[in-house]
Each structure stands twice: as structure tokens, then as C-alpha cells.
Symmetry: C2
Subunit: 212 residues, 2 copies
């Protein structure tokens, strides 16, 4: 059975590799803005990230079949930071990232990651399970010099919520309440539970050789 | 200024590298059992790991001078799992690791990591700061098949508390309350604060090239 990751995120790929899985990466081509618009302004934040994850997983199904893997589990994920009731994606510019850090320094926010697992057998979808993982993230207050140095690396510009937990941003996250892998982008304990719901044990998916 | 890691732990090295620091690794030769005995049975768990961290950092000081780095910050760390009031190190055997997992599955424990930062200038110690980071870890309940597969990889045998957060064990940790990097073995936000106390800003230590 092939494990397929429907994401271009190097952070998600790294989490999976460290956890014993070498996935087949097939990047989805979902129009995320259009999907969010279709859900409407009243959609719950947890629903937004979960439906984005579901759309990404479903989007790559035809290409899994084309790649010759008739038995597979595909995982789609979507992460956003919920802060003061607003969902935030990637800041993209230094100015937006700086403004967000000024607002969230010394405070906390909730990182939501939607997950969807789809199982195929003989090229046909046989089961699907989806759920959102939420983790509270407490930010420290970087000095102005440290914040400018962090922004200058470019790292926070391309990540949901303007921070990473597993790279330079880790210096500025004091604590979390929840699952750290879900903050990085793919929650291992939740993926394990979703795999269980579609009848797949996690150890079946580990590579033959141990990680350590 | 050279950042020196007084630890052989590949997990600590990996956390630092991901966070923008390529440390000089000098492994300490501290007799940990003798030090713990010298602290006596009444020593607080937080003191035990902090004093072990301090001893490790101090132990490598002569070799930093020998290696030609007169200006340096050296970081020592020690991690143990506190469960039902008892400090647990590495299980070393499959039987011990299995028994610990049977006891902690579905429950929680506190991962303590002691940290000590020592700053040298012109080969002389000018400052030292030490503190312990504690994080509550909530374990899930692996199926018998998953637990046996996990034990068979050997991974849990050589790590404090019989689990990892950043490798295969991550599938079986539902959530934490605290700093995930301290669970892996070196707490980035605490090291940043300790560096601040000895007068070093974290961004000064990042490599020239950004991580991402």
C-alpha cells in the first residue's frame, strides 16, 4: 500500500520521513480561494481547513491511479493560524509578517490543521476520514533586532501564521498546548487515528528499516 | 563566537541545525551516576537534570580552549522523564521499554530537560546561566501490534522516557503542554533566554545563510 502526500510542503514531507514514512508526493492543484469563497463567510474555521484538506486529497486521486498505485492511502492537509477569530495564511511580505509578529508577540493563537485520509483499493475509493487538529501556540517577544533578523531570512513569509516551529521560528515559541507535528503541518497522532478509521495500522506503513 | 554543544545526541544536533546553528560538538565525559548519587535521594528532579546539564557544560570547557575557540558559548543539556515521581532515563532493553509503555499508555508524564549555558571570552569563563524546562506529555495507547513494531525498531530503547517526539514515537504522543524542542532534548526558547542572560542575542549566532 502506497502512502501519498497531497502537499508540496517540505515541512510535512520532513515530518513523515522522520516518522518512518517515505511518501509519494503528488501536489494538488486546488483553487483554495475559490473553495473558501464557496464555503461562505459563516463557515467555521475548523471546517475551512478540513474542507481544504479534503479537496486536496480528492484532487490527486486521478494521478495516483495514473502512477500505477491501485492500493493507496492519500493524505491532504491544510494549516492556518486562528488569531482573534480570523484565519491567517502566509504573510508573503516582510511588512505583513512584521505587523503580525508585533500583534502576536507575548500572546497566543490557535494553529488549525485540517486532515483528510482517503483509502483506495484497485484504483477505487473505499473509505475516507477527515478531522481538524487545533493547537494553542504561545509566542515569546523577540527583541527588535531578533525579529528583523528573522524577517530578513525570509522564513516567516511563506508559512501559515508567519512562524515555524521546526526551524528558526522555534526560538520564539515559548510553549504549545496540543500536537507539535500538527503545528508543523501534519499531525501524526491524528493521521494515525484517521488511518485506523479506514482500516490501516500505522506500523504497516513504516519502511523496512528503522529510523534510528 | 562559537556555539558548542556538549552532547552526543543526534536529536539535539538536528534541532539546532534546523534552527540555524551549526554547533561544534564536544561530548562530555561526566560520570552521571556518580553525580546523581552525590546529589542525594532528596534532590528535586529539576535540580538533578539541571546539575547534570551544568556538569556536562563545564566538563568540555578545557577542550573548547584546546580547539582554539577562545570566545564561545557552550550548552549542556540533560533529559529525563518524570513519571509518578520517579526520574526515568533510557530503558535500554525491549522488556523495560514495553513495561514502561504499558504503564504510560493513555496517561501522561513530565519530560524534564536541564540546560546550562556558559560563556567564555579569551578562554576564560565570564558568565553562566542554568534552568530546567518541564513539558507534560500525553501518550496515546498504541495497539499491541503497533507497540511491538515500535519496540522492534530499537528506537525507544536509547532515549530518555522510552519515546521520541520527532521520530517514530511521534505517532503515539497525542499532545504536549510545553516546549516541543525541550522534549526532543534542547529547548530553543529556554536556550534563547539563557543566552540573553549571558549577553548573547540569538540572531548573532545564526549562520549567514537562511535555513529556508
Amino acid at each position: 500500500m502506497r502512502f501519498v502526500l497531497a502537499s508540496a510542503s517540505p515541512a510535512r514531507l520532513s515530518v513523515l520521513r522522520s516518522a518512518g514514512i517515505e511518501p509519494l508526493v503528488i501536489v494538488s492543484g486546488v483553487d483554495e480561494d475559490a473553495l473558501v469563497d464557496s464555503l461562505g463567510p459563516q463557515a467555521e474555521p475548523e471546517s475551512v481547513v478540513t474542507e481544504l484538506a479534503r479537496a486536496k486529497a480528492r484532487d490527486v486521486l486521478p494521478r495516483i491511479a495514473e502512477s500505477g498505485h491501485s492500493d493507496a492511502v492519500v493524505v491532504g492537509c491544510d494549516s492556518m493560524l486562528l488569531i482573534d477569530g480570523e484565519l491567517q495564511g502566509k504573510p508573503l511580505t516582510v511588512d505583513v509578517a512584521r505587523a503580525r509578529w508585533k500583534a502576536m508577540a507575548g500572546s497566543h493563537a490557535t494553529l488549525l490543521t485540517g486532515h483528510c485520509v482517503i483509502r483506495t483499493e484497485n484504483g477505487t475509493v473505499v473509505d475516507e476520514a477527515a478531522e481538524c487538529s487545533g493547537t494553542v501556540v504561545h509566542f515569546s517577544t523577540p527583541s527588535d533586532a531578533d525579529l528583523e533578523a528573522y524577517l530578513a531570512t525570509g522564513e516567516p513569509l511563506q508559512v501559515a501564521g508567519s512562524f515555524t516551529l521546526d526551524s528558526l521560528g522555534g526560538w520564539f515559541v515559548d510553549r504549545i498546548e496540543g500536537d507539535p507535528s500538527s503545528v508543523i503541518g501534519i499531525g501524526l497522532p491524528l493521521v494515525r487515528r484517521l488511518l485506523g478509521r479506514v482500516g490501516v495500522g500505522i506500523a504497516e506503513l513504516w519502511r523496512g528499516s528503522p529510523v534510528l
